[in-house]
Symmetry: D2
Subunit: 216 residues, 4 copies
């Protein structure tokens, strides 16, 4: 069994919890409250900037020039997507940019930055993997079920499309390659990183759905 | 007005929220549930290891040998305190070591690691400051009010004692010195870091009090 | 006077030493020994991979998304140039890839990696600046004087061309912007970084010219 | 064969070159020119500050609290030794503190900082190992042969003494433990790091002996 197949088995309870979450159900049905989507997009814009930083750190630390090039491109894309959020959704839905990270976004971005700063590239790659992988799976899942008049159709199409699929396949292949040469402790660290980031994916959607703010 | 005086004004609402929190009130009254204290100590042991890492990063990045030496000592002490937790409270209260960081501990430690990895030493120093400073203030506050038969007397004495006071004074002096030579953007970053860590101090106590677990 | 104008004054003795160096003189005259050029290209290929890492670290640490995007592109370009060296010069001159960094390349790459890991982004930007700036100046200088039948014409055209000029202008503008908000200690660090990297540029050419090897 | 035994075999040509070097020969005979010793001590003071930074980075990145504690102590000691150089040799021999790192010191410190920033802790530990190990071996070698009226007796005694021996034993044991769990690529990285730092040890002494200055 490929390492990433084993990973998927391990995070499938978290993936199921995401699919069962009200955010995803209402996004599929096209009935997600606009306030929920606004919160989500505001936090996503903040997330993507730090996600790009994490990817640049992986570019700096990767052993092979091929991997460096891949992460340079992914880091660039994260900023480009952040910009296109502003040009599309922020304008379309009249969203004010938010400057404060809410709890899930705060926890997730700091986890990615700390992990890509201090852990091995293999563990860092595992930490950024769920943001690619789960989005493709959730995007495809919603795409197949979404009502045609869905107001969030553009968002859904992005993550269910072939360009994003290609990126995810590259990430999965790289993860498998890195797992092959990793020692047992490092491989355990990779599995833990995938589990933690998958949980934080759930938290990210849950924060938007529940409009979570800092209590103090 | 000293920079740290200005900082204290800014975080005083957060400090007040901590003093008003059930955790601190019951700790003072000696009526804190043992389960709450256990959760707190388990998470504190996990916190201290990463707090030590953050301090070692400040040792590595500080400009002056004096500062490097200070942070080497603080990093060492954090590990020593983590060990003494095991030798005292874990044994006394029959606490099992916890291996999973709960939400507040997870957010706080990753924030400290990310900040000391990626931000300037001045901002990193600001990020670790509240853990010293707020503990001294809360420790002293509780010490002056605690019932004499308080089962948590040892814990209280630690943070209200002269050794810890000396450490906090060193941290405050250093923060003021670094603020003097920082540019305006860096000084703004320092203030933001103190605010974020102070909020996370509240969250850390709140998680113990509410026995917060990860929902997924 | 712009900060970068002041920088140029400070490094002009180093720039003059580069222009007077046998490597540059013979490159201009088209009489550079093929062994010298081979050594240079071998080391340059090793240099560019780590230069890309340094640029990715600046992408990760830069405050503004615009700056992050710029350094993602520069980091990508460094790897692309490294590849094109292999496709062109390595093939054309039958050069074997070298795996060991010689003294100047070793010192320079480790300096860039250490500085972009541990110093502020402004100092890191200053450290990578001379590799852009001095190459444009030397490239243009040689271009204006080079004999037309120069066997190294392609190399010269690259660094004297408009694409590279645009990149250098972006780097200089960014350096000036960062210097404006830097405190005095940070600005001194920027000047020192430009001086050290300019010296290492000289050493890099000198090592090729003298075919320097490690004595042990 | 222990991993560190294999390492010693690999670096024995470099170790032999150090023993045969004029610096070590004259240090043993007590005939080392005072200018040579001054240069060496000036550069050593600069080296130790960055060596301490590298050790603090290993403290921050080590997986186990025991290892973190060890590197906190070593990082502290490096600063203490740096200070005692000033209090003893700088005063005794009327040495002016030098602020500019000469080529070997520059290359070595940047290599240690870059490696402990970007490589795994195992490779970082391997990079700092020769500074401990080779000094013990050279110190002991000289101690056994030094003339009794040697003006550099204090220096020799330090590195041939039991305190330093204990530190080196801890470093060697740790290196062996880390090599056991490292994958093949990481183990190859460890061997390369030991080779590079051993070479830089030679360069450090050689620079002092030849009074090397930057040519530009």
């Amino acid at each position: 069994m490929r390492f990433t197949e084993q990973l998927w088995q391990e995070i499938s309870p978290l993936y199921d919890a995401i699919l069962q979450h009200g955010f995803v159900k209402k996004l599929t049905a096209g009935s997600l409250a606009i306030e929920t989507f606004q919160y989500y997009i505001q936090q996503d814009a903040l997330y993507l900037v730090d996600f790009s930083r994490a990817l640049s750190q992986l570019a700096a630390r990767s052993a092979q020039p091929d991997e460096m090039l891949l992460f340079c491109e992914f880091a660039q894309n994260a900023i480009r997507v952040e910009r296109s959020l502003h040009e599309t959704y922020f304008t379309r839905y009249n969203i004010e940019p938010q400057t404060e990270k809410m709890p899930a976004c705060f926890a997730y971005t700091n986890y990615l930055l700390a992990t890509t700063s201090l852990q091995s590239p293999a563990v860092g790659v595992a930490a950024v993997l769920p943001c690619f992988w789960i989005y493709r799976e959730v995007g495809t899942y919603i795409y197949q079920r979404a009502v045609s008049e869905n107001p969030y159709r553009d968002w859904i199409n992005t993550y269910a499309g072939p360009d994003f699929d290609r990126v995810v396949t590259q990430m999965l292949d790289l993860t498998d390659r890195l797992a092959e040469t990793a020692g047992p402790a490092e491989r355990a660290g990779m599995r833990e990183a995938v589990r933690l980031s998958s949980r934080l994916e759930w938290s990210f959607w849950n924060d938007a759905y529940t409009q979570t703010r800092w209590p103090v």
